[in-house]
Amino acid sequence: VEPRRPESDSRPSAQYDLSGTRAALLLAVIQDRLGAEHDVAALVDLCQALGFKVILRTDPTAQAFREELVQFREKLDAHKGPVSCALLALMAHGGPQGQLLGVDGQEVQSEMLVQELNCCQALRGRPKVFLLQACRGGNRDPGVGPRALPWYRRWLRAPPGIPTQADVLQVHVDAPGSTGQADILIFYSAAEGCVAY
């Protein structure tokens, strides 16, 4: 039996075809997040330079986070012609369980927003990129070395509520439909449980 040959990176199929429309949605809480407006401006410029059609909404409530995502998905599904890539930037205060805080202080789960775009028919087999700029807890990483030892000892005795890696893996295993996730890239601005600077 001839062994199956691995795909070479040089083959066209090894790379996403991005010849269709690229769409980006930026949802950013700026209020009480000093300096965030500079991040928003830089991201908008970058997305436009990369050929994305950009929709920007600042200071959304938790409800608006959800509604904007639904509208974005519906818009892509109704789009005439192929959609090749979607980028979603979420910028807000966040919590240890994946919460994002709207400008009204209410919470929305970032995982739910990811799932909303994962259900987009126009993006089947297309890359979906998420940039999450939010805290993922209150821990402040001291780095490595002797000064970090007390921090890591506290980390090992972390109270319930801060999920361990094993907890997270279990959630993913148990989540209905989790095996259907593909073509998703999430870039977090902090390690799990930690503050985003």
Binding site: E37, D141, I186, F187
Partner: protein, 67 residues
């Protein structure tokens, strides 16, 4: 966040992407992570240096080059 410049996360991402617009996206994000991890952060309420490590979670099945 730096009040006048924005966050290391976004500003480094933009800097790396603008310098390598045709590069493999995962590789570029890895470079962003390397640069951000090398920075020392000193918050207004802290006298100790802190680190920020980013996280990439991917189920991409192909190379992603955004140019």
């Amino acid at each position: 966040r730096d009040e006048e410049k924005g966050s290391d996360f976004v500003q480094t991402l933009v800097e790396v992407m603008r310098a390598n617009p045709g590069g493999d996206f995962i590789e570029l994000l890895t470079e962003v992570n390397r640069r951000v991890c090398e920075l020392d952060v000193l918050g207004p309420d802290s006298v100790e240096r802190r680190k920020a490590c980013l996280e990439i979670r991917s189920s991409l099945r192909r190379r992603l080059c955004l140019q």
